[in-house]
């Protein structure tokens, strides 16, 4: 039987990074096929290449046995391949109905839209989700008045009403409630019965085994295996995902002091649910799991980004009130983001200015001479082994790694107690990364504690003392010592 859709040797590079290498994938008619893999393995890239939201560098795509070359997602849609994106693509001010028919062909005569006919289809589609969404969800309500899950439902229905031959669901269920997911699955099964095919990207093992026929596992841009789900197991899939077990020979087990530093009790904020954790003095505590499960949000909450949080926090015995970054800085927190451009550097300002602002604020100094600032900054920059010409040079002249060192320097000057790091090594070269790990350990030896979120599983397993795995805003597992492995990590993250 000719597969409905077949990818042969598809590759894609972003700059020097191979996102996909010689990927093969085949989809049968009437099949529900999962794409799974670890963080940044290339799942989303692959799905984008199928509909030509991204252009492939090489390889071939066969559709119904014929090579196709779409030039944009519109072409793919014409051919019957459509995607429900993870990032929402709705227009907030338009109504549900208008959004649903955006980009579809007209329903009426002479090129006019037949709003009556549209409304009928729209109502029928919404009817499917009756009972699991609020009464609010009607064809004429503007999308910006809907909740996140209702928006996702509109997004899903927008694609389903077109009844495409191939439908790609990119983590479409992640923002839905379980009752809503049931209905989504019914829709998927109906399509399947009609002989249509569905590609699903999901991190939930439960869903995978509940509804999937086959799964293709991607690891580091390679399609490593395609398995029949009836004959497979959770363990087999995780093993494919993480590959050869990585044993950290160079892992030195540091022993943090047995002194509780930060206690978080029943913290809820935004996506976070009932977070309970303790951080020891001098400890590097890793946050891991699949990306976007609340790790960044936890760090931001601690840094005063969610003033409406619920829960109790104690640092060094003192109760905290996380109202704003200014409060958190005063309490002894520091925040370092991997997104330096948005949250870190002042690009046209000098190295000196980039280093001192938080320090001046925390120490309450209102006036200064540049000369004395220089002499205060120098020891810190020396400690960071920073190579630069002149303190008055703009920070943009430095490499990403060195910029990140300056940001670390900015916080070291404030004498922080807890450093919050949100994927700090993003875009940093390997040598500097190693220096940063060493620095983190050195800092912790002096009594600072670090909470560290990383999207690079290897680095966190190798360098953190303890790793908490987050899933959908909950802490689902705590890995330590010999359980610090990718296998354990993904087993917990995808349960």
């Amino acid at each position: 039987m000719i597969p409905l859709l077949k990818l042969k040797g598809v590759s894609k590079r972003f700059g020097g990074v191979h996102a996909l290498r010689q990927c093969n994938f085949s989809l049968q008619s009437g099949e529900i096929h999962f794409l799974i893999g670890a963080n940044g393995c290339g799942k989303s890239t692959l799905s984008k290449i199928i509909v030509c939201a991204l252009e492939k560098d090489s390889g071939e795509i066969l559709y119904n046995g014929n090579p196709v070359n779409f030039s944009n997602p519109g072409d793919a849609r014409q051919a019957g391949i459509d995607v429900v994106y993870q990032e929402l693509s709705l227009i907030p001010d338009l109504s549900v109905q208008e959004n649903m028919f955006l980009g579809s062909r007209n329903q009426g005569k002479l090129g006019f839209t037949d709003t009556k006919a549209q409304e009928k289809i729209c109502r029928a589609a919404l009817e499917r989700f009756k009972g699991v969404v609020s009464e609010n969800l009607t064809p004429d309500i503007p999308v910006n008045r809907l909740t996140a899950d209702e928006r996702q439902i509109v997004e899903i229905l927008k694609v389903f009403i077109r009844e495409p031959k191939v439908i790609i669901l990119d983590e479409a269920s992640s923002s839905l409630h379980s009752t809503q997911v049931e209905i989504l699955f019914n829709l998927v099964r109906e399509l399947k019965e009609k002989g249509h095919s569905v590609i699903m990207i999901s991190h939930k093992m439960k869903e995978l085994f509940e509804i999937g026929d086959r799964a293709t596992i991607i690891r580091n841009g390679l399609t490593v295996a395609t398995v029949e789900l009836k004959e497979s197991s959770h363990e087999e899939i995780v093993t494919h995902m993480v590959g050869e077990q990585y044993f950290s020979a160079d892992k030195i087990n540091r022993v943090p002091k047995d002194e509780i530093f930060l206690t978080i009790k029943d913290l809820s904020a935004g996506k976070l649910k009932d977070i309970n954790l303790t951080l020891f003095k001098g400890e590097i505590l890793g946050l891991s799991g699949l990306q976007g499960q609340g790790q960044s949000e936890l760090l931001l909450t601690l840094f005063g980004g969610h003033p409406e949080y619920k829960g109790d926090l104690f640092l060094d015995g003192k109760k905290l009130n996380l109202r704003s970054p200014a409060h958190s800085v005063r309490d002894g927190f520091a925040y370092i983001s991997g997104d330096r451009k948005s949250y870190g550097v002042f690009p046209v300002r000098s190295i000196l200015e980039n280093t001192v602002l938080a320090y001046l604020k925390k120490t309450g100094r209102k006036f200064f001479s540049r000369k004395s600032l220089r002499s205060e900054v120098l020891p810190i920059l020396e400690r960071l082994d920073l190579i630069y010409d002149n303190l008055d040079d703009s920070i943009s002249q430095l490499s990403g790694g060195n910029q990140q060192k300056i940001i670390i320097g900015r916080w070291l000057m404030t004498g922080p107690k807890v450093i919050l790091m949100d994927d700090p090594t993003k875009g940093v070269d390997i040598k500097t990364k190693e220096e940063l790990y060493a620095l983190m350990k050195e800092l912790c030896d002096t009594g600072v504690s670090i909470i560290w979120n990383s999207s690079e599983d290897q680095e966190i397993l190798r360098n953190a003392d303890r790793v908490l795995v987050l899933n959908d805003g909950w802490i689902v597992d705590e890995l330590r010592e010999d359980r610090l492995s990718e296998y354990e990590l993904y087993k917990a993250a995808m349960a």
Binding site: R330, S342, F346, V348, L357, K361, F368
Partner: protein, 321 residues
């Protein structure tokens, strides 16, 4: 070629460019109308420029704070400063201190309202400050009650126009003011914060700064400086002849700031450049006057100058990316 690099950086510095053009104008002016570059004439031009210098300082700070904020109420605030000062002092030297205090407090408060509107309420800066300008103009009208307000008191005139070594007081005031501004921008946390938040608002907030409060205060300072300029302007004019006397400062302050190398997107440009920009603008205006170009023609040229500069800077920004 390598040796040229430092020289090039120097030549591309907006302050240096503005200074060069200002000197060029003096030379050309002297050729076209002998006496244009005479000492007394230059002093006259600097005297007039000093008021704009104080107004533009406020504009400088507001623009620095970033997020595309701007203060288009400064012209009306100059008028308010002059009229309120005149009305309260009521021609008597004994009332000058009180008049000064009231002008400072009132204009600062109005500026705070501008800041609150822009930051907390989220009104676009152009709309907020233009509307506030209209309110302020009505306040000025209310203070005058449609009648003539008493003019400057003797001491006000003396401070502004009284000469020492042939140079009027206002120029000394402006020099001291310039030094203070430069100190403020380079050696205070507030000043440095403005640069940094203008550069990256979110990073500044995450460094523990209260960017909202800083921006509100900056609007307050801008209005207050405009009020201060108006107060001095009254001393210079002696009497108020027109409710629209400050209007020209709105556009002029923006032009001066841009000429001085301040980026309208924030975070870049110091007061020295702005001060030179003010002098350049005054030289240009005087030059055009000597060339018998009527007031409307001068305004056209001012507007075109701003557009040309903005085009040039926009291009530079594109090139950098």
């Amino acid at each position: 070629m390598k040796n040229l690099k430092p020289v090039l950086i120097y030549v591309k510095n907006p302050t240096v460019i503005a200074t060069g053009i200002a000197l060029l104008l003096l030379v050309v002016g002297e050729f076209r109308a002998p006496g244009f570059a005479k000492f007394s004439q230059i002093i006259n031009m600097l005297t007039v420029a000093s008021f704009l210098g104080i107004v533009a300082a406020g504009q400088n700070l507001v623009v620095l704070s970033g997020k595309g904020v701007i203060d288009l109420s400064v012209g009306k605030m100059v008028t308010l400063g002059a009229i309120l000062g005149g009305a309260i002092a009521n021609g008597m030297d004994s009332g000058v201190v009180l008049a000064f205090m009231v002008v400072m407090i009132v204009t600062f408060s109005v500026g705070i309202l501008n800041g609150i509107g822009v930051t907390l309420i989220g009104i676009p800066p152009l709309i907020m400050t233009l509307s506030m300008g209209i309110v302020v103009e009505s306040m000025s009208r209310f203070v005058t009650g449609g009648l003539a307000v008493k003019g400057a008191t003797p001491i006000m005139s003396t401070i502004v126009t009284g000469r020492f070594l042939d140079i009027p007081g206002i120029i000394y005031i402006w020099i001291v003011f310039t030094v203070l501004m430069i100190f403020f921008q380079n050696n205070t946390r507030f000043g440095m914060s403005l640069y940094n938040m203008g550069n990256n608002d979110e990073a500044a907030r995450l460094s523990g700064l209260n960017v909202t409060w800083l921006r509100i205060t900056t609007y307050g300072l801008s209005s207050m400086l405009a009020g201060l300029a108006g107060f001095f302007y009254l001393g210079y004019l002696g009497s108020i002849y027109n409710i629209s006397l400050g209007n020209k400062y709105t556009l002029a302050s923006v032009v001066a700031v841009v000429v001085g190398g301040v980026s309208l997107s924030g975070g870049k440009g110091g007061y020295l450049g702005v001060a030179v920009g003010c002098i350049l603008l005054q030289f240009l205006e005087s030059f055009l006057t000597v060339q018998s170009i009527p007031p409307w023609g001068r305004e056209v040229i001012m507007g075109v100058t701003l557009l040309v500069l903005l085009t040039a800077y926009a291009r530079e920004k594109k090139l950098r990316q």
